[in-house]
Amino acid sequence: MSLLFYLAAFVAVISTVAVILQTNVVHALIYLILSLLSVAVIFYVLGSPFAAVLEAIVYAGAIMVLFLFVIMMLNLGQHTRDQEKKWLSLKGWILPCLLAGVLLFQLVSVLSSYDQNMAPETVGVLEVSALLFGPYVLAVELASILLLAGLISAYHLAKK
């Protein structure tokens, strides 16, 4: 299982790197879906099958489809790809990479002091749902309100 974890982690990192390096939006999106699916695999390995499936259904299956939809509507042709190439100059990468490197260094230096293994047991749908509709029912309500707000504002924004 840990092999599966490291494999999926490798795929996730590689495909994420591909996402931020791509010039073609559609390809980047495909890599992003791949990254999300490998994260879903990681979820499964880490004993959260429900989260894994939701990652695949909602994240990879619904949210990314929306992206694809919008890309279809934007009608980005070859010239945008050339433009992307032009924008991705080396100069633009230095400062962000420096910052990100510092950030990563900080994160790693904080996190690596934490050495404990993850519990191997699986937490299934039933446990999550019981908790979700028990003590966290308010969070469910809040989430639904958030979604409603998102729905309304998206409808309003996309209207002509």
Binding site: N24, V26, H27, I30, I33, L37, P49, F50, A52, V53, L54, A56, I57, A60, G61, A62, M64, V65, L68, F69, I71, M72, T122, G124, V125
Partner: protein, 317 residues
Amino acid sequence: MNWEVGSGLNIGVILLTVIIVAAMLIWVERRLLSLWQERLGPNRVGPFGLLQVVADMIKIFTKEDWVPPFADKFSFVLAPAIIMVAILLSFAVVPFAPGVGVIDSNIGVLFVLAMASIGAYSVMLAGLSSDNKYALLGSLRAAAQMISYEVFMGVSLLGVVALSGSFNLREIVLAQADGWYVIPQFIGFVIFLIAGIAESHRLPFDIPEAEQEICAGYHTEYSGMKFGMFFVGEYLGLVLISSLITVLFFGGWMGPEFLPPIIWFVIKSFIFIAFFILLRAAIPRPRYDQLMSYGWLFLLPLSLLNLLVTGAIILST
């Protein structure tokens, strides 16, 4: 994570069988259609024209694997693979019979839904990468249709899940020992049936590939083996939906003792396959907007109501 059912043999046999069955369905469909339309159908190659499928395969395999120069090659090649992979992966959780199946997963139903949603990318990428307006239109339609009907499909299944108390397809089958879920969950069954047809964009919901309007829709530019994958993928979807209906609503492999369980499963599934082919022969295609408004304005409220009533009854008993 239960691996006791799955073995190398199981995986291989099921994969092959499913693909072959799907391929054979091409012949079955043509023969059945001609039967209902009072004509002969393919009957020249082999006995009853059975070898027609083999001939078609040879033709498809040997055709030139051509990618149009204006297409986006990466996604163009990826698209047909996605639908095959997604649907074949879905079969992994289907319990055909005791001991016949790949994974006995606790999240089987959800896994099927996840794969269905991944399958939507196939048509979208195909249409987008073809750089062809018919293909783009077809893929837009397909994407909207599939995303919409995924919702009702998922919600209609939840009644069954609530009754059986599990997402595990095998346990769902076992829970139907006392009675098939088609009786308490008839509304759920009907919605799942309709959503399943739309999901696999079979006739009459084949709006993404409506020939009269937009050529062949999203696979207009495809030919050779890549077209074959779309083609077989459609029949794979047909088989998948039929077997899911059998598992979820009609007691799966269970039946009287005189036949082995796998045979019961095949019989039940085939009835639905035949039903789908009959639908193709009988019902005309609706308009695109009719399809969408039918789904959102009728099926969604209905499925939610069904879920609500089911939940209320379960809680009260």
